[in-house]
């Protein structure tokens, strides 16, 4: 690896995904650096979730490449990418409703056993696994719900459960898709603290956000996506002042950058 790319953990190169005639993601190239919090913002339908789905393997690129820690991952199945250490949350939460909150997290802790035959032999309710699950629940603040069926949780807690499950993969890179959506002001602040804490533990974070104030305050760097293309890239202050960005937001949904 060349010195310049030494700290690049994820890199997309001219990444594209078309749905019929729609270019949901169009020749997007960007890098995620080790240890940063990178924000991906843009109006509705800009292609943010599609970028996440491409990185995590739920969609195959129409063209372009994705490299994670120097190796190509486009073409891998989602479970393989997850086991490489890319955790993700879903914008539309997908809890294992019938399992308890703890079991939801345990499901992620099994990630390195699933491809082996040990998965068929070993019980999952082992004290060490349960301890690790409970520690993760503590980090995201779900301890008191450990034995509750996930399907009964309100949306705010489900978003935290999404993060908890992704953390169970022991990820190197964490993809958060609008984790702050629908949260109260108070919860948003707690989320910000959580994300910073995770970064301090060495986890790199790529997050999609609609809440501008939150994204601006949290991210080291921001990429603005519009109609599948990168519109701007830079530190939050520069993005906020960028006339192209302001216009894209005003033109599309009438939302001003400062909300």
């Amino acid at each position: 690896m060349s010195p310049k790319t030494a700290d690049v953990i994820l890199e997309t190169h001219r990444l594209s995904r078309h749905f019929g005639g729609l270019r949901a993601v169009d020749q997007v190239s960007f890098q995620v650096r080790q240890g940063e919090i990178l924000g991906l913002i843009g109006p509705n339908g800009a292609g943010k979730t599609t970028v996440f789905n491409l990185i995590s393997g739920f969609l195959k690129p129409t063209a372009g490449t994705i490299h994670f820690q120097g190796r190509p991952i486009h073409g891998l199945r989602p479970n393989a990418i997850a086991r490489l250490g890319i955790g993700r949350t879903f914008q539309i939460v997908k809890p294992f409703s019938d399992l308890t909150v703890r079991e939801n997290v345990l499901a992620g802790l099994g990630h390195d056993l699933y491809p082996t035959l040990r998965a068929l032999r070993e019980h999952y309710l082992r004290p060490d696994a349960v301890r690790r699950a409970d520690r993760i629940l503590e980090v995201v603040g779900l301890s008191e719900y450990a034995d509750v069926r996930a399907g009964t949780l309100p949306i705010g807690l489900l978003r935290r459960l999404e993060i908890a499950r992704a953390l169970a993969l022991e990820p190197v890179l964490l993809l958060l898709d609008e984790s702050a959506a629908g949260l109260t002001h108070h919860e948003v602040e707690a989320l910000g603290a959580l994300v910073r804490g995770l970064r301090d533990q060495g986890i790199t974070i790529l997050l999609v956000e609609h809440n501008m104030r939150f994204a601006m305050g949290l991210c080291d760097r921001i990429i603005v996506l519009n109609q599948g293309r990168i519109l701007a890239e830079g530190p939050p202050e520069a993005i906020q002042r960028n006339p192209k960005v302001i216009e894209a937001y005003l033109g599309h949904s009438g939302r001003v950058a400062h909300r």
Partner: protein, 334 residues
Amino acid sequence: MGYLVSVMTFASIWAVLALSLNILTGYAGQVSLGHAAFFGIGAYTSALLAVKAGWSFWPAFVAAVLVTGICGALLGLPSLRVRHDFLVLATMGVNFVVVAVFKYVDFFGGALGIVGLQKPQIFGWTLRGWGFLALAVAYLLLTLWVSDYVRRTWAGLAFATVREDEDAAEAMGVSVPRFKIYAFAISAALAGGAGSLYAHFLGSIFPDHFAFVESIGIMSMVVFGGLGTLRGPVVGAFVLKILPEYLRVVGDYRYTLYGGVLVLMMLFQPQGILGDNSWLWKRLQALYARWRPGPQPRPTSRALSAANPGDDPAPASRSGRVNPGERTHESENS
């Protein structure tokens, strides 16, 4: 007495079938209406080895389990491409094709079936009557143990994630195809053993013993007792297998009963009479708690989310509104 013993033997064999389908449908959420095909593959494997190759029961039984498990893995391949109601269609198709092969390919004995199978022997004793019942019950206990063991393993947890949400399962590092195939293989292998027992108990088998209606019967036993639990399929099989034998009215209307059970359970108690949230099971638990006060056992809910959505034990909404979208825009698993 002999009649009772024979009825109990059949009931035990069907309880194994119900439990094995439960692993596939209750644990892993893959609804199959072709389970009788695996039952038949086990029976035919065992019978052919006994009649054509002169094998005795025990090795034939083991071979039936193995062969059916492998067939299960292969016939489970459609589940990697199709889901939900289309998977049901595909499994029905598998059932028809398998029965057609038994019926129209001479090697399998054709419509005349295979006759002249010996009962198993152990230390020179021939197992018949009580002896065979003991064998069937032992196999049922083994199946119960396997069902319980699998459920507690990481694979059991992976099955549950596949059942609940395939995308989220993948995001947790679970290879959905791998675990679907596991579920099909385990489920089929257990059913294959039941087929072997059945063949050697009856002494002769015919293609129609494994027809689509039998698949419906097995499903109705699981659904009646309670999908996803261990007690449910066993109780379902015993009730629905024994009732027609002793009540003549019911005997004449055996398939009406199976069909009616499916309709009524789906309408009023989709989690089955002994499912975790069912009326009867809650009453029983309340009774038990009153007799023996102490900490409530945590419900280990494993009901099929597809048949038991959410928390709501109410029969069904009467709003007449529907939610047709079953895939989110994010799912595109190829």
